[in-house]
Amino acid sequence: MIAVISRKRFRTGWTAFIILFFLLFVILPTVYILSYAVTDWGSIDTYVLNDPEMMEMITNAIIASFEIAGIVTLIDIVVGLPMAWMLVRKDFKGKKFLDTLIDMPLAVPTAALGFSSAIFFAQTDLNVPFALNSITSPLLLIILLHVVFSYPYMVRSLSAILVQIDQTYETAGRTLGASPLAAARTITLPLFRAGLVTGIILCFSRSLSETGGTMIALATMNNVGFATGPTLIGDWKSNLVSNPDLAAPLAFVSILLIILSLILLVVIKLILMKVHLPMGRIWPRPERIFSRGLFPKAKDGLTVFFLVILVLIPSFFIFTYVATATPTSFDWGPFLDSLVYSFLIAGIVTVIDIALGVPMAVYIAKNRTGKISEVLDVLVNVPLIVPTAALGYSLGVFWTGQNLIPTWDVLLIILAHVAFTYPLVVRNVAGAVEEVDPAFEETARTLGAKPIQGFSRVLYPVIKSSILAGAIMAFTRSLGETGATQAVVADAMTAPVYIVTLIRSSDYYVAGLACIVLIIVSYVAMLALRYVTNGRRSN
């Protein structure tokens, strides 16, 4: 067996298969809808461009989407950078605790997060004690909601890069007489640019893509009329059967979202990597003052305050609501069905991601200098950038249009979820592989190990935790996804979609309970996954 799979021909074939899978099942379906603009321009012309009302609706939604994403990213940087700094560069009691707190919202499905934040921030007639209960602008509410769930991503990606920047640089600056603030500003920040780009792109695209939480928040405040790009797709897709004329507008919105987000990706990268800020000068006196005493303490205090107010309370406010609301009777059956359905999908998606994503990651990381790898590395980011609702719609059109595979709902949903979670695993694992000294595997080979043994005995044990992290990420993202699910199969009953339906029919208490069950179950699933992987290690 080992002898067979170690043959050069087999290895080449395997690599080709992995790349083919990626191109055919991930990339192509994601952007397939773009071809609609060529083949069906006529219907776009008729149903969209010549319908002023439709045009206005689309333009408003798209503008709102990008406006929200922009503002959210800005807020995330302002409140996230000091937090990342604190976590990486400072030592204090309770640092571990703070570190865990930041990750907690990541495990809460966005549907639950949307409901929880909405009842905290928005003006509703639910009368929940301690709720802010004041926001009436849907735009503002969605911005706040998106900050809640994108904040951890920003902090995580910023601190990941910050950790890698050798602190010696800053210390060197200080031995040359620069105050801590001046050294951080003139030395660390310029080196930090790459991390900032990753963080910005991640937050921007997450916000642009978010559907379920947004729909729920809007429904909670009984909003009518305000829509973002993805919610538009979700709503129209559910009406597509009764109103086939919506096919052209759906395609149009998806195309716009895909193209604009890809353009934006390039623009952000170019701007941030090319533009030099004239920040070289140092002001010794004022910067010293800001480096010491009250200012840093106030800054850290505010950072933690923002974390609590903007992220933690809204994330878990749902518990307050359920604890204080008047119970109503409830049939658990359909919800439990949807929960099982969601878990089944998330599980299969994670397995596919790991099985086909890890080899891809290893290939990309090990052939960094190669042209193919370079192209793949760029392509892998595409499904991450494209809003999932657009991705889902495009994927649905692609697979239902071909006769290559059966178009069962569950299969389509799985494929859609694989498309946007696969890159998460690949990026995570590729990053980890690149950090492993190649000398490990090389030495193993010179000691007589075949390439596959080099992987299984040397590389795998070292990157196992990153694979686990990737798996957890893929699992929770799949579990919480609404946009892609709805866009690919309109009446799919996954747990988050079910919660959306509950809220739309004003079953708030039941929705609250469902949210809590979803939160608890996904926590337990995460712990279990961790336990299983750790357990295997001790054997």
Binding site: G173, L176, L191, G280, P284
Partner: protein
């Protein structure tokens, strides 16, 4: 003026004590090396002087002022890092002028200062390059220029040469000492390389396990080491175990394991003491009588041959002969070895054995 004084300096990490109550005074303009094996606490010590690490106990005085709780940037020091740590996003010139810039001097002055120090390290022509375009030796020179350009009179060097090729290292160490002396600055240099320490220092501070073993000029530590660890660490040496047979006149007779006798010109011992004789390879020679030995290995060292021989007393002895005499020696040849009594040093036999006393890790 920047003399440095450390009083009872201590640093603990939990139960581990990295530096244990070190007292040390470095005079103004002196070049002092802190030498020791990995993990002896030398880096922790220099980092406490710089203010990068806060001491658990004790005080750091620079120029007579208590600096123990003064932040790094206010200590007015120049620091050169082991990993060089040139700012990768700045050109060579901007790296060197970072110190003046941190003081917000005007552009012209910044330019002049960076030119002056780059000229001093002979790298003026590389001014516009980026650190990644320079080779290791050049990078470290730029980093030295950067430290000096901050105008400090106290230079701290944290293993400045260990990232470099050995050939480059040799050239650069003479350069380091020259610059330091020309500019009349006080220098504290941390290293694990005893040859480097000997070549650059006015005084060497030898550390082991968080404490100072011995302090002295390179010559004192090589010729009259007071500690057996020092004898072995600074330069190679032969350590022969035996006991004192008699002390007569100016010399003591030491009986080796199997009865061989060696004379040593040291008398502060009494008959019956268990001792260790330390004698360097260049002071052992072939003679007509003495320790009977068989040659086991011969190595060419360029200017001399290093001969390994095992003696009748079960000791491995290495000795050096000049390149001309070496041709007559072959492996397996038997000969007598003698030592120059004035060059040998005696130590009481360490309680835990010789091996433990000279352990390098």
């Amino acid at each position: 003026m920047p003399e440095v004084k450390l009083v009872g300096l201590k640093k603990s990490y939990g139960k581990v004590t990295a530096v244990n109550k070190v007292n040390l005074t470095v005079e103004n303009g002196e070049y002092v090396t802190i030498l020791g094996p990995s993990g002896c606490g030398k880096t922790t010590l220099i980092r406490m002087i710089a203010g990068i690490i806060r001491p658990t106990e004790g005080k750091v005085y620079i120029g007579g002022k208590d600096m123990t709780s003064v932040p790094i940037e206010d200590r007015d020091i120049g620091y050169v890092f082991q990993n060089i740590a040139l700012f990768p996003h700045l050109s060579v010139r901007d790296n060197v002028s970072y110190g003046p810039r941190a003081k917000d001097l005007d552009q012209e002055e910044q330019g002049q200062i960076s030119k002056k120090y780059l000229e001093m390290v002979k790298l003026l022509d590389k001014m516009c390059m980026f650190p990644s375009e320079l080779c290791g030796g050049e990078q470290q020179k730029v980093s030295l220029a950067r430290a000096l350009a901050s105008g400090s009179k106290l230079l701290l060097l944290d293993e400045p040469l260990s990232a470099l090729d050995s050939r480059v290292r040799v050239d650069l160490r003479y350069e380091l000492r020259r610059l330091s002396k020309e500019l009349g600055i006080t220098t504290i240099h941390v290293t694990h390389d005893q040859e480097e320490a000997q070549s650059v220092s006015d005084r060497i501070v030898l550390m082991r396990a968080g404490t100072v073993v011995e302090t002295g000029t390179p010559e004192e530590l090589y010729v009259h080491p007071r500690n057996i660890f020092t004898a072995n660490f600074i330069g190679e040496t032969n350590l022969l175990e035996g006991w004192v047979k008699e002390v007569v006149g100016g010399t003591s007779s030491i009986e080796l394991r199997n009865g061989g006798l060696v004379k040593v010109a040291q008398t502060n011992i009494k008959p019956g003491d268990a001792v260790v004789i330390s004698v360097r390879p260049e002071f052992v020679f072939a003679a007509n009588e003495g320790m009977k030995a068989t040659i086991t290995d011969i190595t060419y060292m360029g200017t001399y041959w290093r001969i390994m021989a095992s003696t009748e007393d079960d000791e491995e002895v290495s000795f050096d002969v000049t390149t001309m005499d070496g041709n007559s020696l072959t492996i397996g040849k038997e000969l007598y070895l003698a030592i120059n009594p004035k060059t040998a040093v005696l130590y009481p036999k360490p309680e835990d054995g010789v091996e433990e006393a000279i352990k390098l890790e």
